[in-house]
């Protein structure tokens, strides 16, 4: 089904009359759908999240007048159906090729990308991650308590702060890995007679 601007606008309006709030809610729902599909072991969770949104948009004209519950519950119901179908397909041997093959990171590329991203991180953030992860077990708990006290924040806030640095690193690594994968694909598709440009 082709999603038109009008049908997407209708979805946003259903989520909230305020378009900005609706857009934020849409992003939140989509991010939640991706987490649900990843947690259930599906590769290419974004594809299934988009499939869920497409189905909701398609059914919206029929249900909108009579549906009284929160939109999130409707999304959840559709997601459950999409999940059930995907798991059933996985159990039954088929010739259907996944939308996008799963991209598993090669260890060498990951190490190189993380080294690059680590070096790009400001020193204080590297220190935070270093101090946060340097101990195990009880020492870790005590160390976190001490770090939080020194920063005058709660242990929970420290945990969140470390997480944000990890997210920054992970996003950087993802971009780097995608860039490496693209270079490999481009390199492989070059024909003879054309000078291969291996970009480093």
């Amino acid at each position: 089904m082709t999603i038109t601007k009008d049908s997407f606008d209708a979805l946003l309006e259903w989520l909230d009359p305020d378009r900005d709030k609706a857009a934020r809610q849409y992003e939140l729902i989509r991010a939640g759908l991706i987490r649900i599909f990843v947690s259930n072991g599906l590769a290419d969770a974004e594809h299934y999240a988009d499939e869920t949104v497409d189905r909701v948009i398609k059914r919206l004209p029929e249900i909108r007048a009579n549906y009284v519950n929160e939109p999130v519950r409707y999304f959840h119901g559709v997601a459950r159906n999409v999940l059930r179908e995907a798991l059933r397909r996985r159990e039954v041997a088929t010739d259907v090729i996944p939308e996008r093959p799963a991209f598993r990171w090669a260890d060498n590329d990951l190490a190189e990308c993380l080294r690059k991203c680590w070096r790009a991180l400001p020193i204080e953030k590297r220190e935070l991650i270093h101090d946060y992860h340097v101990y195990d077990g009880h020492q870790k708990i005590d160390s976190h308590r001490e770090m939080a006290s020194e920063l005058a924040i709660s242990v929970g806030a420290l945990r969140t702060r470390a997480h944000h640095v990890r997210v920054t690193l992970e996003n950087c690594v993802q971009q780097c890995m995608e860039a490496n994968r693209h270079k490999t694909v481009v390199g492989n598709h070059n024909n003879s007679g054309v000078r291969k440009e291996r970009q480093l």
Binding site: L28, I29, A31, G32, L33, R35, I36, F37, V38, L42, A43, A45, E70, V72, R73, F75, H76, A79, A102, F103, R104, W105, L110, A111, C113, L114, R115, K116, C117, W118, R119, A120, I123, E127, I129, H130, D131, Y132, H133, V134, D136, G137, H138, Q139, I141, D142, S143, E150, R159, T160, H163, R166, L169, E170, C172, A179, H182, E197, Q199, L200
Partner: protein, 254 residues
């Protein structure tokens, strides 16, 4: 991990769809599980459950690889860089390196164009600059260069005779390597926690080397602006209890 009931699973999933704080908490928990897995904190049935449920998707497998590699990087001192210090730029466009005259060549060229009197007057300054540059541009394996300091613990009452060490940091060093002599009454623990305190810094220092008589730590130069510093030491008992030592290692950076 396949342990939630249907109703609980629905509750979690609905919260994931509608609560951004819960999404963040969820992500943090995923990271923590990944960290526990890569550090072999899971065993037996628990480990099997993690491998069966948590690691099923490629995204989670990549997550675990990322966390493992991150912990490996994080265990290295944050100021130790294995290659050059310039920040990385992740970009798909190729970087074209052009050869430019090195700083040595530019200085030599400038030097040759100056009148003799000027050359005589600036000889000392130039030597200092060139020596400093040679230090910075030293070829080869990039071995860090440290300035060394050895300290004994000062008693809490700063009794007479215990002078505070003073150090002036050399230019271009990678850090101040401090050998902390353990006092005779130090607790016989395998692990120690070392903390540096100054006016503008308070941080733990990883122990680089350890023997029965001393610990060695390295402090990056950025953390050592002129001022007074104290290094505090605690022994860590096997049960995780911290045993602070009375006294501190004191020094002044000029």
């Amino acid at each position: 991990m396949g342990q939630l009931t249907g109703a609980d699973e629905e509750t979690v999933e609905l919260r994931l769809l509608g609560d951004s704080a819960f999404q963040e908490e969820f992500d943090i928990t995923v990271d923590e599980i990944a960290a526990l897995y890569v550090t072999n904190q899971f065993t037996g049935e628990e480990k099997a459950q993690v491998e069966k449920h948590f690691l099923e998707s490629p995204e989670r497998q990549n997550k675990v690889k990322f966390i493992g590699e991150l912990l490996r990087n994080a265990s290295i001192s944050p100021t130790e860089l294995t290659e050059d210090d310039t920040p990385a730029v992740v970009s798909e466009t190729p970087t074209v390196t052009q050869s430019k005259p090195s700083l040595f060549e530019r200085i030599r060229s400038w030097w040759g164009s100056q009148p003799v009197s000027m050359r005589a007057a600036t000889t000392f300054a130039t030597v200092v600059v060139v020596v400093g540059l040679a230090f910075l541009l030293r070829p080869g394996g990039g071995e860090p260069t440290y300035q060394s300091l050895e300290l004994a613990m000062a008693s809490p009452d700063r009794s007479a005779g215990s002078e505070i060490a003073r150090v002036k940091l050399g230019w271009g060093i990678d850090g101040l390597r401090i050998k902390l002599k353990l006092p005779v009454d130090a607790p016989p623990t395998k692990n120690y926690r070392v903390r540096l305190r100054g006016e503008k810094v308070s941080r733990q220092l990883p122990v680089q080397q350890q023997d029965p008589q001393s610990l060695t730590v390295v402090v990056p130069p950025n953390d050592l602006t002129p001022g007074s510093y104290a290094i505090e030491l605690s022994g860590i008992a096997d049960n995780g209890t911290e045993l602070p030592l009375r006294g501190a290692y004191l020094f002044v950076v000029e």
